[in-house]
Structure formats: structure tokens, C-alpha cells
């Protein structure tokens, strides 16, 4: 079990309204559960960097008329556009927070997303 992944997940969970999650990856399985009013003061640094939705809206991997073939395991550059969130007439850009490997894609094209919803996890280089 990678303790870095665990702390990263815990940190990310704090930014959401989730109380409990289970994450499986191959033989690894992590279950996390919060008590109702967590008080977290610790500063955590870790391996996977989540990419959160900048807005409520509809997620698309590419702007209209464009294509964008992203695959799990691909290399991404910091600032590279991973997709957009369409809210009203506006497109909000979703970009890679760092150079690294795109480990997880947790969103499908044309699906609604909430503000702060994790859509990708990047392993920084």
C-alpha cells in the first residue's frame, strides 16, 4: 500500500462532500471513511495530483470541432488542456496541473460534472 496515495486521497476527500470511498487499483484496495466533523491541520504532500472540475457544467474532452485522444498512462505537460467544462455559453479550460503521467481518467465525454469533481489524477514527474 502506497502511503502517499492514501494521504493524497485523504486530502482530496476533504475538498469534497464524500464521507466514504473505496478505491481499487489492481490488487490495491483503499477504503476511507471520515467522521462527521473532521479537523485536519496536517499538511500533506503526495503522489497523485487530482484535476478538479473548475465549474458545474458538461465535460468535453475537446472544444467543438476539435479532437483530443487522451489515454490513461499518457504523458502530459503542465498547462496542457485535458478538456473543457461547458457552462452556458462559456468553456472553462481543464488543464494538467503539472508535468507527469495521466494515471486515471475518471470522467466520460459529454457527462455533467459538479464544481470540484475530480476528473483526472496525474502522477507528477
Amino acid at each position: 500500500m502506497d502511503v502517499k496515495i492514501l494521504t493524497k486521497l485523504t486530502k482530496w476527500m476533504e475538498t469534497t462532500d464524500l464521507e466514504e470511498i473505496t478505491w481499487k487499483n489492481g490488487k490495491d484496495k483503499i477504503s476511507l471513511k471520515f467522521n462527521n466533523n473532521p479537523v485536519h491541520n496536517s499538511v500533506i504532500s503526495s503522489a497523485l495530483e487530482p484535476v478538479l472540475s473548475p465549474s458545474i457544467g458538461i465535460f468535453r474532452f475537446a472544444r467543438p470541432g476539435k479532437t483530443n485522444h487522451l489515454k490513461e498512462g499518457a504523458s502530459v505537460k503542465k498547462g496542457q488542456e485535458l478538456g473543457i467544462v461547458e457552462v452556458g455559453k462559456e468553456f472553462k479550460s481543464v488543464t494538467a496541473p503539472t508535468d507527469g503521467l495521466l494515471k486515471i481518467i475518471s470522467i466520460e465525454d459529454s457527462k455533467p460534472v459538479e464544481y470540484g469533481q475530480p476528473m483526472f489524477f496525474v502522477e507528477p514527474k
Binding site: N37, G57, V87, Y115
Partner: protein, 453 residues
């Protein structure tokens, strides 16, 4: 009727709206900011969507985000609550343009009645008394204009706002001097020295009339609410009916509200606010084109559910009562706003975790709240924790019930205004029903240190 309604609000009003939706078997969608993910409205609604970060500008006030949330969840109507986007004509129009019903008046009504000068003109045209004053700016013949309005008068800056450039003149001898001060103050503050005169109403009561109107032209005016107990224009206690209004005056007030609603071709619920002077004359002040915080006192004495009436009107149906312009009422109701504020420290806001939260109950007691034990109070929004509403057959019994309920109300973890309300209900003037907008200042005068002023 609607299938699913999104509530574009938070706090107790979101909870309040969800309750009516559930009774009417309409689906509910809560929207919330990141800071509100553990708020009660999120837990009670059938669905909940996070629409943005804590700052209201990017969440509860973001029109594209709220509209996107409605489209994603398939809501066919949006209830705006009060505050945030409730009186925003642009939002009402955005709903309409996206095929979503806005549960409130049309953009046109919001614009007409929300604009103070426009609303005043419309009221005057409908034959409703407005505060006497000069229609235009006063440049010369000030003494004649002032005498015509009648002392005491207020000199107000035409470009004004926020109380700047306002001078009160009690007699003709002071006029010239005060006029000079007002003009130079106004020029300094707004770059424009134009002033006008308005009658100054000494220690008025704040009286308001709730009305509801449907597309079929049915209009109801409800018995008046008295909201005189305020602190810096923030209402603290509201009651209905007003101890200062008799049957004849009530009929005049209700008639004025009906006339205005009809003149504006208004659809939905709204409130006309009046100032009532010590002699029993009332003057139009403004219109609120939304549900108000203090709506429960009206519900308690009339048995109406005003959110239900809003839904009926917005859906194009008839109001639940179509038998005339007025409705009967029974007894007396008082509302106390419980805020997270330390009233001994000039009502400084208080934040933190609610450690203990025991709300009063029993006969004639209603508590509208989004708070529960263990709730972390976010710092980003208004400080209201709960509304305690009591009902009893008479005012005297209602005051006794308030006193009992306030004693029952136990909160630990944050400062609240409960103790301020205890002071109010013990006060002789309040018990006798002799309140006006200067009440809180007199009540707290000895408690507030000079340095805090």
C-alpha cells in the same frame, strides 16, 4: 404543477422551500457551495449539486452555474428564496430564456417595483400615499418648498445613498444653514450638490403588507406585519397583526397593496413596505418582489403556506383562495431572528462549531433553521441561525410563549442573539406594543459602551 424544483439558495429558506415541495410531492434539488456541503438543505433535498466555491459571487450568485445545475438535474422551475438572486431581473430573464420557470415575478415586475423611484411613481399613480416631498431638486425658494412639505423635513442628496448628505431640519430658522451643509456634503461625497426635500417621519413604525396574485387576476392581501424592531435597518423581531393597526387602518393598508399588485400586473407573492407615523398616517416606502424572511408570522395567523401560493402562481394555477381580496386571521404571531452575533459586543458576528443545539417546541412554537448540533458555521454568509416563531390566541399570550420558548432555546459553541430577544420580551414598551424603529437603540443604550458607537 412542476415535477422538480431547484432551490437557488442556502440556509433556513432552502430547508423551508424543500419542506413545501415534499408536501406537494415535487422533487427538490439543492445547490450548494463547497463551504456548505454539510448544510441541512443538502441533506434534506432529493438531489444536491455543488455549484462553486465558498464565495457567493462564484456559487449562489453565479447565474450560469445555477442555470447549468437546473439543466443537468432536469429541474423545470427555480425557487430563488430571498437574497442572492431573488430580486435579480437578469436571473429571472435567464430562467425564462432557458425554458425554466422562475418562481417569482416577471423580469419586468422586478425592474419596475425593485427600482425605488419607479415604484414610488407607480404607487402615487395607484392612489397610495407616498412620503410628501419635492418632486424635483430644490435650487431656489427653499423656504417655500420646505413649508409646503411641512416640518420636520429631510434634505436628501439627489445623487445620494448610504445616509450621506441627509440633514434633518425641524424649523424654518435652521433651513438656510442646513441647506448649505447638505449641499457641500453632497458635493464632496457625490460630486453633485443637488438636493431635494422629503417629509421626515419621526420614530415611525415599519409596517408591511404581504400580497399574492395569480395570472387569473386573483389578488389577496394578508394582514399587516409590524417589523419596527430593527437594528441598523436589520429586522430582529416581526409580528402580525401590528398592535398599532386597527380594522379600519388594516383595510386601507390591504387595499393599497391590492391596488399596487394590480397596477403592476404582478404575479407571485410580494410585500409592500410602509412607514406608519405616530398619528396613524401611512406612507409607501418600497416593494419586495420575493418571499420575505418574516413570512411565517403571516402563515401562523392565516394558515396559508406562502411557498405553496408562490408555486401555484408560478405554475399558472389559481391561488388556493379566490374568494376575495382579504383573508381572515386568528390570534397573534411573533418571530425572533436568532443570529450568530454577540449583542453585548455591538452584534459582532460569531463563528465556529455548534456544540449544542436544543430548539424549543411545544404548543404554538415553530423553528425554521438549517442548523444542527455539530454543524460548522461557515463564515461566508449571513449570520442567521434560526427563526423562532410563536403563535397564541392573543398578543399577551404570544409574548409569554416567546419568553418560554427563548428560555428553552439552548445553544453552545457560538454567541447568539437569544439573550437580546429575552431583553426585548421583558421590556415594558414591547409588552405594551409601543414599538417604533428607535426601540432597539433605546433598549441597548445603557449596554453599549460609548467607544463602540
Amino acid at each position: 404543477m412542476f415535477k422538480k424544483v431547484l432551490i437557488a439558495n442556502r440556509g433556513e429558506i432552502a430547508v423551508r422551500v424543500i419542506r413545501t415541495l415534499r408536501e406537494m410531492e415535487i422533487g427538490s434539488v439543492a445547490v450548494y457551495s463547497q463551504a456548505d456541503h454539510s448544510s441541512l438543505h443538502v441533506r434534506l433535498a432529493d438531489e444536491a449539486v455543488c455549484i462553486g466555491p465558498a464565495m457567493a459571487r462564484e456559487s449562489y450568485l453565479s447565474i450560469p452555474s445555477v442555470i447549468a445545475a437546473a439543466k443537468i438535474t432536469g429541474a423545470d422551475a427555480i425557487h430563488p428564496g430571498y437574497g442572492f438572486l431573488a430580486e435579480n431581473a437578469e436571473f429571472s430573464a435567464a430562467c425564462r430564456d432557458n425554458g425554466i420557470t422562475f418562481i417569482g415575478p416577471s423580469p419586468k415586475s422586478i425592474e419596475q417595483l425593485g427600482h425605488k423611484a419607479e415604484a414610488r411613481k407607480m404607487a402615487a399613480k395607484a392612489g397610495i400615499p407616498v412620503t410628501p416631498g419635492t418632486k424635483d431638486c430644490v435650487h431656489k425658494d427653499a423656504a417655500e418648498h420646505a413649508a409646503k412639505v411641512g416640518y420636520p423635513i429631510m434634505i436628501k442628496a439627489a445623487a445620494g445613498g448610504g445616509g450621506k448628505g441627509i440633514r434633518i431640519v425641524r424649523e424654518a430658522g435652521q433651513l438656510k444653514n442646513e441647506m448649505n451643509i447638505a449641499q457641500s456634503e453632497s458635493k464632496a461625497a457625490f460630486g453633485n450638490g443637488d438636493v431635494y426635500f422629503e417629509k421626515y417621519i419621526e420614530l415611525p413604525r415599519h409596517i408591511e403588507v404581504q400580497f399574492a396574485r395569480d395570472v387569473h387576476g386573483n389578488t389577496i392581501a394578508f394582514p399587516e406585519r409590524d417589523c419596527s424592531i430593527q437594528r441598523r435597518h436589520q429586522k430582529l423581531v416581526e409580528e402580525s397583526p401590528s398592535p398599532a393597526v386597527n380594522k379600519a387602518l388594516r383595510e386601507k393598508l390591504e387595499d393599497a397593496a391590492v391596488k399596487l399588485a394590480e397596477a403592476a400586473n404582478y404575479v407571485g407573492v410580494g410585500t409592500v413596505e410602509f412607514l406608519l407615523d405616530q398619528q396613524g398616517n401611512f406612507y409607501f416606502m418600497e416593494v419586495n418582489t420575493r418571499l420575505q424572511v418574516e413570512h411565517p408570522v403571516t402563515e401562523c395567523i392565516t394558515g396559508f403556506d406562502l411557498v405553496r401560493e408562490q408555486l401555484l402562481a408560478a405554475a399558472g394555477e389559481k391561488l388556493s383562495y379566490t374568494g376575495g381580496h382579504t383573508v381572515s386571521y386568528r390570534g397573534h404571531s411573533i418571530e425572533h431572528r436568532v443570529n450568530a452575533e454577540d449583542f453585548t459586543r455591538n452584534f459582532a458576528p460569531s463563528a465556529g462549531r455548534i456544540e449544542d443545539w436544543l430548539v424549543p417546541g411545544g404548543p404554538g412554537v415553530r423553528v425554521d433553521t438549517h442548523v444542527y448540533a455539530g454543524y460548522n458555521l461557515p463564515i461566508y454568509y449571513d449570520s442567521m441561525l434560526a427563526k423562532l416563531i410563536v403563535w397564541a390566541p392573543t398578543r399577551e399570550m404570544a409574548v409569554a410563549r416567546s419568553r418560554r420558548a427563548l428560555q428553552d432555546f439552548q445553544v453552545k459553541g457560538v454567541h447568539t442573539t437569544i439573550d437580546a430577544h429575552k431583553l426585548i420580551v421583558e421590556n415594558e414598551e414591547f409588552r405594551a406594543g409601543r414599538t417604533d424603529t428607535g426601540f432597539m437603540e433605546r433598549l441597548l443604550a445603557p449596554a453599549v459602551p460609548a467607544a463602540a458607537k
